[in-house]
Amino acid sequence: TTRSPAFLGLQPEKAPNMWSEKLSGRDVIVGVLDTGIWPESESFKDVSMGPVPAHWKGACEIGTGFTKSHCNKKVVGARVFYHGYEAAIGRINEQKEYKSPRDQDGHGTHTAATVGGSPVLGANLLGYANGTARGMAPGARIAAYKVCWVGGCFSSDIVSAIDKAVADGVDILSISLGGGVSSYYRDSLSVAAFGAMEKGVFVSCSAGNAGPDPASLTNVSPWITTVGASTMDRDFPAEVKLGNGKIVTGVSLYKGQSVLSIEKQYPLVYLGSNSSRVDPRSMCLEGTMDPKVVSGKIVICDRGLSPRVQKGNVVRSAGGVGMILTNTEANGEELVADCHLLPAVAIGEKEGKDLKSYVLSGKSATATLAFKGTRLGIRPSPVVAAFSSRGPNFLSLEILKPDLVAPGVNILAAWSEAIGPSGLKVDNRREKFNILSGTSMSCPHVSGVAAFLKARHPEWSPAAIKSALMTTAYVLDNTKKTLTDASTAKPSSPYDHGSGHIDPIRAVDPGLVYDIEPQDYFEFLCTQNLTPTQLQVFAKFSNRSCKHSLASPGDLNYPAISSIFTQKTATSFSRPVIVHRTVTNVGPADSKYQVVISPFEGASVKVEPETLNFTKEHQKLSYKITFTPRVRQTSPEFGSLVWKDGLHTVRSPIVITW
């Protein structure tokens, strides 16, 4: 967050009118469900903040190392939820873990600061990413709900936190965690999120880090905003200088005493082989390193099976002087920097293969490592992170997921001083900030931007906020080309980036929004072939029943469009697919929009009417889209539907699946 506000166009100096005291998110409260909070962090100082909003009814719960005084006008509340955890795992050992909102892990401090951290000048990690760290909504208030403990997070605690947060008066929930995918009515987080949405709370969740495998998304309910991760225009270059004179470029966040001499060459070793059989030693797993073999050498380790920083520690413990961490096919050329305990450089798959060939060629391979600090202005960016979970949405193909992407690679934000920046127990370093990657990091960017929008449009529903974020998202990178996928280096699709990359400033004034009422979401559930008993899960007040207002699930007034042609016989396909949408004018009263549809090979797409003439603010107008099959395609086709009035561009991605 020393870079992401600028990358998102959120610097106060660039858009001063967006940052007036009235509009900076002061009365918006974001509940962060995570590992707690490190309240002493400068990111949580409340200097010059006004009184706590009157609608806040939460509490500052006390416990080990956490008193009432740890809450302030920035961290307005902090609660703990551990009964489910203790029932499953056993009593929390208070000698080893804070049984309080205090964050032992760092993850919760990082996400909370990303949402709404106060500006901190000169923030950095060991000199890397130096700058002013600030949350996406620095005026917003944070309420920390600690639901994750050393042994994991349990749904009974998570649901209790959501339940309490709604009663406490949060406006937005930021949830950077997930489990497996299960049907809507079996997923308690989805059910609780539905309840929160019914009370007007915007819920954003991380999409998961199971990419680039297809259909690897979690948290896919339409009432949840599902956030994937992408890069920013910043990296941390490092070099591997080989004995044969070749230089391989990678990334690193290493800074320490054991710096390798760039004048000297060190023996290079790779414990794997050329064969396709996976050798656990090639991944530098615990217990696989022989000090006699690796001592004094730089070790090449393949990614996979164990945490990246742990591999570095395995090498270090065995006497290795450095590590080169190579991507495999799953990661492609995407480079994720880590704060290793020994000199280490992460390199891409292709360079990694060449490097291993060099070592395995039989010659006495040597190398040294050099660290180059922080580099800005990287092109292309953003790029969809290889690890970011991908669509399609396995539960409902008609709802395109993820919804959008946001910065989630190499994000600097506040950190717990209970643990070192590598997260390893043996890491005795203590840092105020850390650099992490994951959809956990992209989710709070969206939650913070949602708070930024909520402050400017307090009347907007959760669906309206989501629509504004989605329809203003962009799909061209800073080289003006389509966003790329780090795992393939090819153009990414809406299954990777959803509607695109968030653009907060444009989202403030989207022109039109696709609004959705809680009953509409229920109507969507009515199309999902659920039994009346299963539907009851979402109709708990018994005042919701199916009115069958949606002809199909694709008719939900979602800001993205997914059309499915089902095969009737070997040669014939379904009749034309028709979906309906209704847009609400949140721009000038008199607005005239014209539709633009991208061309498709397999179907003709007709929009009726092609023009929308608004005469009033908040006026709703509907349109119909007809997809007529033309030539069967072997893979999904992607495109877009855009409404333009000369001022606004309201874009919806389209997916046609055969």
Binding site: A88, D105, H107, V159, D163, S176, G179, R186, T439
Partner: protein, 91 residues
């Protein structure tokens, strides 16, 4: 294994609470008691088995139950659904 207790989230339909009950916790507790009726500890333990009550975004309780008790409870009127407690991970 049949006596092993696990946590279940028990979703209740608040709207069908009989008027005889003055608050929801009392009603949830009585529902639980009826599911535990085969257990000798039923009366004394039903409230202790409840680890959370949910009232806002979700209605019901989280309680420690055996699989058999959970199945029995699921059939009770007013019980909308039973969710086994699930482990989630940070992303």
């Amino acid at each position: 294994a049949q006596f092993v207790k696990k946590t279940y989230l028990v979703q209740m339909d608040k709207a069908v609470m009989p008027k005889a009950f003055t608050n929801h916790l009392e009603w949830y507790s009585s529902k639980l008691k009826s599911a535990l009726s085969t257990s000798p500890e039923a009366d004394a333990e039903s409230e202790k088995r409840i680890i959370y009550t949910y009232q806002n975004a979700f209605h019901g309780v989280a309680a420690k139950l055996t699989e058999g008790e959970a199945k029995k409870l699921e059939a009770e009127e007013g019980v909308v659904a039973i969710f086994p407690d699930t482990k989630y991970e940070l992303h």
